[in-house]
Structures are given as C-alpha cells and as structure tokens.
Subunit: 183 residues, 2 copies
Amino acid sequence: MASSTRPPGRPRSSVDAEVFAATLRTIHELGYTRATVDRIAAATGIAKTTIYRRWPSKGALVTATLVDSFGPLPVRGEDRDADVAAAIWYGVRAVAEPGVAAAFAGVFTDAIGDSALREILATQLQDPYRKVLMETLGLSEQRVLFVIDVVIGTLLHRMGMTGEPMVEADVEDLIRMLQRELR
Amino acid sequence: MASSTRPPGRPRSSVDAEVFAATLRTIHELGYTRATVDRIAAATGIAKTTIYRRWPSKGALVTATLVDSFGPLPVRGEDRDADVAAAIWYGVRAVAEPGVAAAFAGVFTDAIGDSALREILATQLQDPYRKVLMETLGLSEQRVLFVIDVVIGTLLHRMGMTGEPMVEADVEDLIRMLQRELR
DNA sequence: GCGGTTTCGCTACGATTGGTATCGATACCG
DNA sequence: CGGTATCGATACCAATCGTAGCGAAACCGC
C-alpha cells in the first residue's frame, strides 16, 4: 500500500536481524566489554563503519538489540493473576536468552554518565512496557515501575551472579509474591 | 597484642580508605567507564602503579571498595520481621550512597567473561551476607539467595534506571512484600 | 645516625578499543 | 544505462587498561 515510496539509490542492505543476532552471540561468548564493535561487524560479515552509520554508539546498538530481542508483552487485560504470571514468565525467558543479561548489564553501565544513551534506554526499552502494563493491568505508574524494578532487577541479579537463569521453583515464588502484592 | 610482627621496610602507606573514597567519588561523578584508574589515582594523590600493586585490576579495586562500603548487616536474629526491615533499609542506604550503584553495575558487567573477578565478587561480596542471613533468619540457602536477588536487584534496577534512590513508600512496599513472603 | 629492606612515584610503553574521515565500489530504481 | 545513496576498506585519533624499569623515600633494628 504505502510501501511504494522507496528512496532511490542503493538500499540499506537488510541485515539488521543478522547484526542483532551477532551482537547477542558475541556478547554471550565474550561478555559486553570484550564484545567489540569490530568483532560484531566481522561476525556479521559487514564493515564496522556500516554499524556506526546505523547506530550512533555501541550502547545504542546493544539497546536496539535488546528492544528487538524482548518484543511485545503477552498480556490480555482480562485476568490480572494470569497476566502477571505470563509477563513474568516472558521476562524470565527473555533474560535467559544467551547474551541478553550481559547486554543489559553492559548497556546499563554505559548509560550512567551518558545521558544520550540513557534517554534511548528509557524511551525505547522501558516506556513501552510501562504503558502496556498501566493500561492492561490498570495500575498506577508508581506501581508499574515498582513491579518492573522487582521483576527485571531480580532476574538480572540472578543471571549476573550465577550466570544461570532462575530455576522454576524460584520463578513460581516470584510470581506468587507479586500476585499477592498486586491484589 | 599480636600487632608487633611488622615486616621491615617502608610500610604500605595506609591510604586505602582514601582510595576507596576517591573511587566512589570518581565513579559517582563520571560513571564506571570514564572513572579511569588514572583519575582515581590522581584524586587520591598517589600513582597509578601503586593502585595496580595493591589490586590486580580495576574490577578488583571497585569490588574491594564495595565491600568496604557495605560493611556488616545489622540483624539480630530475634524478630524476623524487624530483621527483614532492618536489612532492607540497610541495603537501601548502601545502594543509595553516591557511586555505589554505578560501581556495582560496572563491576557486574566486567565480571561476566572475567572468571577471576567473578570469584572475587561472589566470595568477598555475596557470601558474607548469605551466611549471616542463613544463620540469623534461619532460612535455607535457596531462600536467602532468592531474597538477595529481589532486594539488591530491585534497588539496583531502580538506581540504574532513574539515578535516584527508591522513595520511602516503595521501600515500605518492598519490606511488606518480603515480610509476607518469608512468613 | 646508618645500612637493609620494602614500598612508592614517575615516566614510558604496548595492546585494545570506541569512534571518525575518506574514497572508491556497489546495488538498486526508473 | 545513468543517477543516487549506501556499503566496504583502510587509515587514523584519542582513551584507557595494565606493565616494566628505575631511582627515591620511608621505616626498622642496630
């Protein structure tokens, strides 16, 4: 329909998905610090300069990778307990994806003292989930931000300390705890 | 008493406390990444080489700074609800200390892919609290690790996202939530 | 005081890395 | 086939972590 307005010239080779995958894979294998842009570019088969043409910094690239990796929340707004459980399980799987926790921690670290990156992080990663949760769960902003802190913070801390995703029994405790909290 | 066995030679100038303070201050002002060892050394008035003589890496220095900054937990083992509240408030104040959250996130990031640093982090920072909490609260290891994940993870996520400590109302919610969880 | 011992400060250096500049090659559209 | 915008490659700069080497300083026992 409106997809006919394509600008002239050589198109941006559509390898974004490949770059995201290579970013996660490289971070998973080497950690955030040693996952250099050079290596990510080489793993994708494109030039480093191409990456910097599309994303303004390494942090922005990793943030975009996280946004792409997380995707939309599977909440329906009918049964709050069910939505809480579904959202937490979704978060567990997303954070357990190889490289995601390390990427999160790394971009988190870079964001402190880099206000531009911090803006990207808050706008592109947190705001969508805040809005969706406020609407479908009918909670205040303060309440939603509290829940996001608890869920994502807990999962990241576990992944960071142990390197392993949270086991099912602990996830179920986390779900029950938050269902009680939001009742 | 046994402090008489001092080795000969020039003593290690006892500026550890100053180095720790300068580390936190520099990280607070510039963030973990831009808080270079050069700057920390300059802020203390000592040479960079001296820092590397005492700590094997920047991550180890920051971890030691965090251990020094946190200190022992004020739990008494008589009233569990009171201990939970006291421990959480203690964590809130420790994480709110300027530079602590940024230092934590940074050393967390470096620890992934640096097993030596990871060992230091787990042994020197987490283990003491795990043991104290298991003994005084009479909880299983799994339960204690879960609580540590929730408390520290939540506080760090809040500090990382907003740059501000958690407000009192949210802290009280966190305390009530965990008191119910541990009942 | 004085020698012995250990740490300290300083300068210089190597290796990596984030990020930029430049220019020719390339792929697409009409 | 020509116009246009992106891509790839190379070279480059500024920071930064971490190390080497050496002379100076500070402390102890005598």
